[in-house]
Symmetry: C2
Subunit: 551 residues, 2 copies
Amino acid sequence: MSGRARNILFIMCDQLRFDYLGCAGHPRLRTPHIDALAARAVRFSRAYAQSPVCGASRMCFYTGRYVHSHGASWNDVPLKVGEMTMGDYLRPLGLRTALVGKTHMRADMEGMARLGIDPASKIGVLTSECGFEPFERDDGLYGIGPDGRYDEREPRYNDYLRELGYAGDNPWHDWANAAADDDGELLSGWFLKNAGRPARIPNEHSETPYMTRRAMDFIAAAGDQPWCLHLSYIKPHWPYIVPAPYHALYDAADVLPAVRADSERGNHAHPVFRAFMDHRVARVFARDEVRRAVIPAYMGLIAQIDDQLGALFEFMADRDLFADTMIVLTSDHGDYLGDHWLGEKDLFHEPSVKIPLIVFDPTKAADKARGTVCEALTESIDLLPTFVEALGGEPQPHRLEGLSLLPLLRGETPPHWRRHVISEYDYSLQPAARALDTGPSASRLFMVADARWKYIHAPGFRPMLFDLQNDPDELVDRGDDDDCHEVRQTMQAALMRWALRACQRTTVSDEEICDRRDRPADDGILIGFWDAEDLPQPLRRTYRNILQKRH
Amino acid sequence: MSGRARNILFIMCDQLRFDYLGCAGHPRLRTPHIDALAARAVRFSRAYAQSPVCGASRMCFYTGRYVHSHGASWNDVPLKVGEMTMGDYLRPLGLRTALVGKTHMRADMEGMARLGIDPASKIGVLTSECGFEPFERDDGLYGIGPDGRYDEREPRYNDYLRELGYAGDNPWHDWANAAADDDGELLSGWFLKNAGRPARIPNEHSETPYMTRRAMDFIAAAGDQPWCLHLSYIKPHWPYIVPAPYHALYDAADVLPAVRADSERGNHAHPVFRAFMDHRVARVFARDEVRRAVIPAYMGLIAQIDDQLGALFEFMADRDLFADTMIVLTSDHGDYLGDHWLGEKDLFHEPSVKIPLIVFDPTKAADKARGTVCEALTESIDLLPTFVEALGGEPQPHRLEGLSLLPLLRGETPPHWRRHVISEYDYSLQPAARALDTGPSASRLFMVADARWKYIHAPGFRPMLFDLQNDPDELVDRGDDDDCHEVRQTMQAALMRWALRACQRTTVSDEEICDRRDRPADDGILIGFWDAEDLPQPLRRTYRNILQKRH
């Protein structure tokens, strides 16, 4: 254990619920390797994603800023050129910052063209790749439909599969994310009905082990330079399909009952919630047969990740990397899996907006907090300032909006920790916006939550409100309950403070502001002086000398 | 009069009060050439600056976005690289976009370095110069003090003066902005006591005529390409000193009584207002001798601008440029001049935050509104979308936050015109922040005003509130008046709507949002389908073909 972290291993899963881990209390799922990490780390039990959708959430992790600040509010909304990303903060501290897996980054090609940045140049690639050196970029969804490919890029993983003899123009789909029926006919992993079958490839050829090996390749090749590796698994995100033996680890008996009540669908339902319950994915997850087919596969995908992390941690231990590597395990958001009559993510119930967050700090100072669970309110934007502080960098609160977790990792409780967390959702690209006829800029939701209440501001509609203390399952929306008027006002005021925060004055540090404030009138710009006698000493003498010299 | 504007002449004065024009009703000041323009144009009587300070206000004009959006919240806060500016919108429409005079732009050198943009390259210069080709950049303040120069750049204007024989290392100060006593000793224009004396140079060598000639140089040289020329006078901004005969056009008898009441300084004074009344410039303008010395010079500077605009308009008329040139005359903010016990600008009383705004639209469609006064609530950010529309460009509401004035210029009243205007102020660099002990991010003010009420949200303090209808001089702060509780709530809600607006999703147009929303599941990413039977036709057939082909 050294005095300061040297490397960062930043592991992200995609769509991993906060409560689908052994250490988080799941009664059936076994995740021994993640649990072992948690036993050496701090697990944050109230960590929230800044937006319950991949792209927007990730851009918050990578920029350390809220969606309302960086603007990439949904999948495939380009992150505008100029927004600083993780690499911009960590490279000056001497780290090589690399990616294995998914970022969901869409480059701002128009902005880059406007500024004359060649996308093929070194800076162009970093700008396009959200600040990461793309050791292995793979967003993990390669659909083909009548409009062509979803992503123009051909993943290296497809080449890898082809070299192994898996034929076709999209082996990602046809082998890794498909099953076969009893006659050997291809059954697409896109269809939930096939979730219980094994993928058409052996475990070692599937995505999670492939990405783990690529991470090891990077670490082995990294040499003497410190690094930040973002190992970003595509799973347990859909297509919900997993190779043997993981497809059979769990079955319908391991599926927990859905957390939902008929009253949620009643007349009282909030219009936006209702519109989301009408989404196809919500309707399909309302069917028990779907949950019974999908959830065991989802659990198998998590077990597969856990085993791979076991291998990775062993690889790291062999290289003594636990001595100086900070390790983070988190997810970009959760998955409703039928809870609250919903599928996917998008809204702000805990299964969707809460994320697992485990942080291992290798330093001695962290010893006393190892194995503890921290209930402080944390946000995904806290990671980047944590990394900066762990590596000895200067805090940059004028652009990084999160709080360093370092004190919490070392068992200290900062006196002024945040009292509210924020999450946002832009549903302008969703069918709900069509159904509600909300315009492209009006289709937005804002969550503000404290330790007890979760308030959701929905412009154009009444708010939603949940009492996490007395209704931890969030089954009763008290958004128009007269008894909660004051709570709503308090939460609304907290949201207002947040909305008006200074989040765009990113070009001047707070120190520079204070420094400039403390030396007015010294730069020869004299404001409000009747005559030279009004000048303070010694400025009066200096200025007279200047005037006389000039004269 | 053609069907569409071809050129834009965008004239800005610095620190020109909205009510210091003949056409705006000033009882003493004569501005016949500006009045003549207003007689052919529309004068907006309720136009507001987005921030009552040079740099922040100008960045709003140039980006078409609020301070809260672009972040350059005070003077010398660099506008971050990537923010689009006027040139980025107008050059694609075929215009050459050039500057003569001041922008107060500070380049984001750190951001440019991060993106590998060479400041000396064409794009680097445009990025540094806020999107303008710097035909003649001159910010007009060249102080020298113990810390050296205020601005590293040497203005061409100094060379011009030296060529004429005005000696010294800063002829801008020693001649153009200084007077002489009866013995010929230099009297600095920085000292208000000297405001009544003539500058040490003849009118034709002073800054306003020089800049006017440079504007003519540009127009004469522009050739066939349409242009947008930003003619940005430094005056009537301080140093308050003007050459003969303008120094003697007005005297103390022309000075209007200060709009102020003893009650404003009483115990009831808002803490932030009180802290600003304690600024040196405020205390000096509280003295009548200061107002008597300064205001005639201020009026002389305006009269000088008016005469120069007369010459410019004649030059343009000779070239038939009124046929196809949109002409704007405005200012970045006002000047308290002792009203409300304040000097300079900074706060939100009308003399500070309201701006003159005259817009001449050369097209026939505008004929019916010529010479009218429009009372609609307008903002400085409205100009850029006005230019874009006038030139036939596409509206871009996903990044331009203002509203095109074109309907108003043509006598039409849009059914859903804005009901509130916003202005902001970051006082973190001011002595008030020291006095109030507000932190670098907390020292901010937000004004929201409708046709009757002006509400000022001051985080950490109670709000301010003025009734513009019954108290047009804004002498009674009703920020804690129980009778105004509902008004405050209404204004607070308007501010909340504004604060939560989608202002950073600038990389995707509203059209693209709607277009993408309307074609889900067509890109081969299939979410929430139990099996192929669930697919809508014709996607089902297509997908089967794809699957079969692959198989």
